[in-house]
């Protein structure tokens, strides 16, 4: 119970739970539709999803400031690639939240609807860019960690002057798997971003997958996010 109180007092934690519930509703709606459920049940589920989505937008109203602060901190990182990717990622997140706020204002009736249709598209573009930058940063970070030791099976191979493509690829994959295995926060973050990326891909029509798949991906990434809040050692820093 104590841990629930501590968890609940964080605004981000609440937002993640509501996000998990929202995507669970998306998945449930898809499953019920496939299973031929009653129309009013489907209507209730979609209404609940819309309510959670709008409320999350309300909860995110101040997040642009937070993202800008994070961008200011990321500028001071020592690693060049990480600095570039994370700063751009945070700036994109700030833009995403700004678009998100405009969308909320439109849905609440504070600003006219026309500002919001372009905002929705901008939102997805920005969000996708942020996810890509994040993944790129973490992938680069995983390729050159100082503490990773090459496995004995690899070092036993004599180095050839012109390496074949296939053994080189298998060596890189092996390195990637080792790095991810020894670095759970990185693995978790990669998985989360991978799941998240399907959402804007579907919304923008680049790779339509369907509401069921989007719901499952959203739910998985929310649950992974909740896990990083519950166990701060799982959170990737910076």
């Amino acid at each position: 119970m104590e841990s629930w109180v501590r968890f609940n007092s964080q605004s981000q934690a609440k937002e993640r739970i509501i996000r998990a519930a929202q995507y669970a509703c998306t998945l449930l709606g898809y499953t019920l539709q496939k299973g031929g459920a009653a129309a009013d049940l489907l209507h209730t589920v979609s209404q609940l999803e819309a309510h959670m989505s709008l409320s999350r937008k309300l909860l995110r109203l101040g997040n642009s400031v937070e993202a800008l602060e994070a961008a200011k901190r990321a500028i001071h990182l020592s690693d060049g690639v990480l600095r570039l990717c994370l700063t751009i990622s945070h700036l994109n997140r700030a833009m995403y939240f700004a678009c998100d706020n405009i969308l909320w204002a439109g849905k609440t009736g504070l600003v006219p609807e026309w500002t919001c249709t372009s905002g929705a598209r901008d939102l997805s573009d920005v969000y996708e860019l942020h996810l890509l930058m994040d993944r790129e940063a973490h992938y680069r970070a995983s390729k050159s960690p100082p503490s990773v030791q090459p496995s004995p099976s690899l070092s036993a191979d004599p180095p050839s002057p012109a390496p074949e493509a296939l053994p080189w690829l298998s060596r890189q994959l092996h390195l990637l798997v080792t790095v991810l295995y020894t670095n759970p926060p990185l693995l978790l973050d990669l998985l989360k971003n991978l799941c998240d990326i399907f959402i804007p891909l579907d919304r923008l029509g680049i790779r339509p997958t369907g509401s069921g798949f989007v719901g499952a991906c959203g739910l998985t990434s929310s649950l992974l996010s909740i896990a990083t809040i519950l166990h701060p050692w799982l959170k990737l820093k910076p």
Partner: protein, 246 residues
């Protein structure tokens, strides 16, 4: 900026800002209700208020557990009166949150066949009781502070000085009342946390009083009191020294 980010990262901080906005909208709607040129703005403000209220109900979904945990903690306090008041306040708040959660479920369509009006009245009753017990606690704190101050020699000298300052007024009116008020004001001034908490609870009290029909004011008074209590809530959260503990 850092302070703003830190404040809004707390769930309570955000909720108080939303509450302040909600009641500011309610007050503005009341003030502009007769202005025919601002009908558009009034509609927008009403929509914003409804939106904030609905969002806050969703965010409050886990608060029952918070209140039960708080009640468990306050049961262990050494001071019996304080323990009783605070535990009763937290228990009533937990019941209020349960009613509030049921109303949320009714609003989103998860539960259909419940009497919305009855549950709304029950929620207001629980909220009212929690405020009354909180105010009782405030009054108890003030009495303790006054008793402590009355025993203080330095204060007694100050009191003599004050009573002798305006002799024609002090003897003409009721000197005991004058002394009592002086003691009360000095006690509140030396402990602003108690004063703020009392003011916040008094402002909040107008909301269920109006809803339950015990003391019917109007939407403007409710809006103003809600806004004032939310602002005090924000101030006490931003400045922990001004928050009354436990």
């Amino acid at each position: 900026m850092d302070a703003v980010v830190q404040f809004t990262s707390q769930s309570q901080g955000r909720d108080r800002i939303f509450r302040a906005t909600q009641y500011a909208c309610a007050l503005s709607v009341y003030l502009l209700r007769n202005n025919s040129e601002r009908k558009d703005l009034v509609a927008k403000l009403k929509s914003l208020e409804t939106n904030m209220s609905a969002g806050r109900k969703l965010f409050r979904l886990g608060n029952t557990i918070n209140s039960i945990e708080a009640a468990k903690r306050t049961m262990q306090l050494s001071d019996r009166v304080l323990s009783l008041c605070l535990t009763a306040a937290n228990a009533n708040r937990a019941l209020y949150f349960i009613c509030d959660n049921v109303l949320w479920a009714r609003n989103v369509g998860l539960i259909r066949d419940i009497d919305k009006e009855r549950w709304s009245l029950n929620a207001s009753r629980c909220y009212f009781l929690s405020l009354v017990t909180s105010l009782t606690r405030d009054v108890y704190e003030v009495i303790q502070l006054m008793a402590q101050k009355a025993r203080d020699r330095h204060f007694r000298q100050k009191m003599e000085l004050h009573l002798n300052e305006s002799p024609e007024v002090a003897e003409a009116v009721i000197p005991q009342l004058d002394a009592f008020l002086f003691l009360l004001l000095e006690s509140l001034r030396s402990h602003p946390a108690v004063a703020l908490d009392m003011l916040k609870n008094v402002c909040d009290l107008f909301i269920p009083l109006d809803r339950l029909g015990i003391y019917q004011s109007n939407a403007g008074v409710v809006g103003f009191c809600g806004l004032l209590s939310s602002v005090i809530g924000i101030v006490t959260l931003a400045q922990p020294k001004l928050r009354l503990r436990p």
